[in-house]
């Protein structure tokens, strides 16, 4: 309802303050990204001549090429080539996202559509994992991984992270809303539980799966502590870890153009997933926090 009596509720074009505030907010959000991008296109001497230029230079191909093929300097040694680390990150992110979705949808289906002893006990066991992040059980988790011979393997990097209370809760909530009539109709038609799952439940869950995929891909790609603990071998390094190793924390020389090129390569895949799948991303955020 628009009313000329209440101009302040529907600000006219003359009201610039909101636009100004939003513009400042966007500038602050984008500024570090712009500077990182610019630095990734400069040579190191260009970066060192303070103040650094704020327009892209002509070293982009050289920098990204060197980072991708050769890797960056980490202290006295080189990191693995960035393309290898990106491959590790991709394997990790995709396996975790897909794995979490598969095992969560199956366990939610069992908990909702069957009655069996210990059903709720299983459900609570899954729920409680929310309260046991890696951060609170670092040393014993490493011991388990070592005993199982899973250090420095893709299995070690991914399988332990595949349990998901969040995804199970989301699927369970959604399955509760599937009408009983639909289940009855399927049973009358003689559809067994797995046929019902494949032909009815799975197609109905597509948007939820897409929403979860975005959230879980970010989760997997952006892992830090886990690959730091489990992927100690350089060839198992993810790009996020590799990038942080290129920063010399002792205050020695850092090749900032390499670090920034690697940082851009490390942030591009998750940012693209969020921007391209934005509708599902927002849905996923809202749903998983319920």
């Amino acid at each position: 309802m628009t009313s000329p009596v209440l101009p302040s509720l529907k600000p006219g074009r003359h009201n610039l303050i909101p636009h100004l505030v939003v513009a400042v907010g966007i500038a602050i959000t984008a500024f570090p990204l712009w500077v990182a991008f610019v630095a990734s296109t400069l040579s190191n001497p260009e970066i060192a001549q303070a103040p650094m230029p704020l327009l892209p230079g002509n070293q982009a191909v050289a920098n990204y090429g060197e980072a991708l093929v050769q890797g960056g300097r980490s202290g006295r040694i080189l990191t693995p080539p960035v393309w290898e680390m990106m491959l590790n990150s991709t394997v990790m992110a995709l396996t975790i996202a897909v794995g979490k979705i598969i095992i969560s949808i199956l366990s939610a289906y069992a908990v909702v559509f069957f009655r069996f002893p210990f059903r709720m006990a299983f459900f609570w066991m899954i729920f409680i994992t929310l309260m046991l992040p890696v951060e609170v059980r670092i040393v014993p988790t490493i011991q388990v991984i070592t005993n199982l011979n899973m250090m420095n393997s893709y299995a070690g990097l991914t399988i332990p992270l595949i349990a998901s209370a969040t995804a199970t809760l989301l699927f369970r909530q959604f399955f509760m809303t599937i009408p009983d009539e639909l289940v009855e109709a399927a049973q009358i038609d003689g559809a067994g539980p797995m046929k019902f799952f494949r032909d009815i439940v799975l197609p109905l869950s597509v948007t939820n799966i897409a929403a979860l995929f975005v959230i879980l891909f970010l989760y997997g790609w952006n892992q830090y502590l886990w690959p730091l603990l489990i992927g100690t071998d350089a060839r198992m390094q993810t790009i996020v870890i590799g990038m942080s190793k290129m920063i010399d924390s002792a205050g020695g020389p850092t090749d900032w153009n390499m670090v920034m090129a690697t940082a851009i390569l490390a942030l591009l895949p998750p940012v693209l997933v969020v921007v391209l799948m934005q509708r599902w991303f927002v849905k996923g955020l809202v749903e998983t926090e319920k």
């Binding site: 309802m1 209440l6 302040s8 509720l9 009201n15 303050i17 909101p18 939003v22 907010g25 959000t29 990204l33 990182a36 630095a39 060192a48 650094m52 095992i103 199956l106 366990s107 908990v111 559509f113 069957f114 009655r115 069996f116 066991m125 899954i126 409680i128 309260m131 046991l132 992040p133 951060e135 609170v136 059980r137 670092i138 040393v139 014993p140 388990v144 199982l148 332990p160 595949i162 349990a163 998901s164 509760m176 289940v183 009855e184 049973q187 970010l218 952006n222 830090y224 603990l229 924390s249 205050g251 900032w256 940082a263 942030l267 998750p270 997933v273 969020v274 934005q278 991303f281 809202v286």
Partner: protein, 293 residues
Amino acid sequence: MERKVVYPQKLLPYLLVAPQIAITLVFFFWPAGQAIWMSTLLQDPLGFSVQFVGLENFEAVLKDPAYLATLQRTFLFSFGVTALAMVPALLLAVMVDRVVRGATAYRTILVIPYAIAPAVAGALWLFLFQPSIGTIAYPLRFLGIDWNPRIDGTDAMIVVVIASAWKQIGYNFLFFLAGLQSIPKSLLEAAAIDGATEVRRFWTIVFPLLSPTTFFLLVINITYAFFDTFGVIHAVTQGGPGKSTEVLIYKAWYDGLIAQDLGRSSAQAVILMVIVIGLTVIQFRYVERRVHY
């Protein structure tokens, strides 16, 4: 809530939950149990003998001035991150709510940092704040500010707080905007007819109606600051200079893996467990109320 119509199979449901339960037991419950057990043991430095000491590790940790300093630092850090991530997000949401046109485009840009790994966010801000070359550090030096996060603890803390908060603003913005858009416009119009100014309308109507969202975000942001910022600190400051950016998670990791003090590190892990459990319970209890509301 239970379904009325279910499938009668007896074995199948066990097979369906088996993978998740197996992972849960092996990688969550077993290590968590170990952490609790180890927190009651004292190991001699060479690892030859182990002795049960009950709650002594907890006593030692909670009486350790270094631990208490880290605890205090963690509160300061979490407060800084939460405030810096929430206040600008609310301001932006209020403004975007009024702009109407272009809201989707703004949302897209503002939410991008949320997709970025904490360590990468840390690297971007460290670069801006790099003493001799950083784009922000450079003008600071002109203003006569002796800026160096490598040497000065406060400077280092400022960098990790800003990097951690920057990542989270877009997330808070999304939830604040959704909260604002669900406030009935008729309420605001009625207040406007009664002559309430815009500022007054915000504080008497909008802000109270947003309080469930605000509280929810408060819990989420505190949890984030406590548990998800390890990457920022490890990549940017390594807890330093000195211990000036060492937070609880970083200390638990350092004492367990680098200093190899298993008993005390496990006691710290158990304390952290209690904190997560507390935050999760608050979050879920609150959500239940939100559903009824």
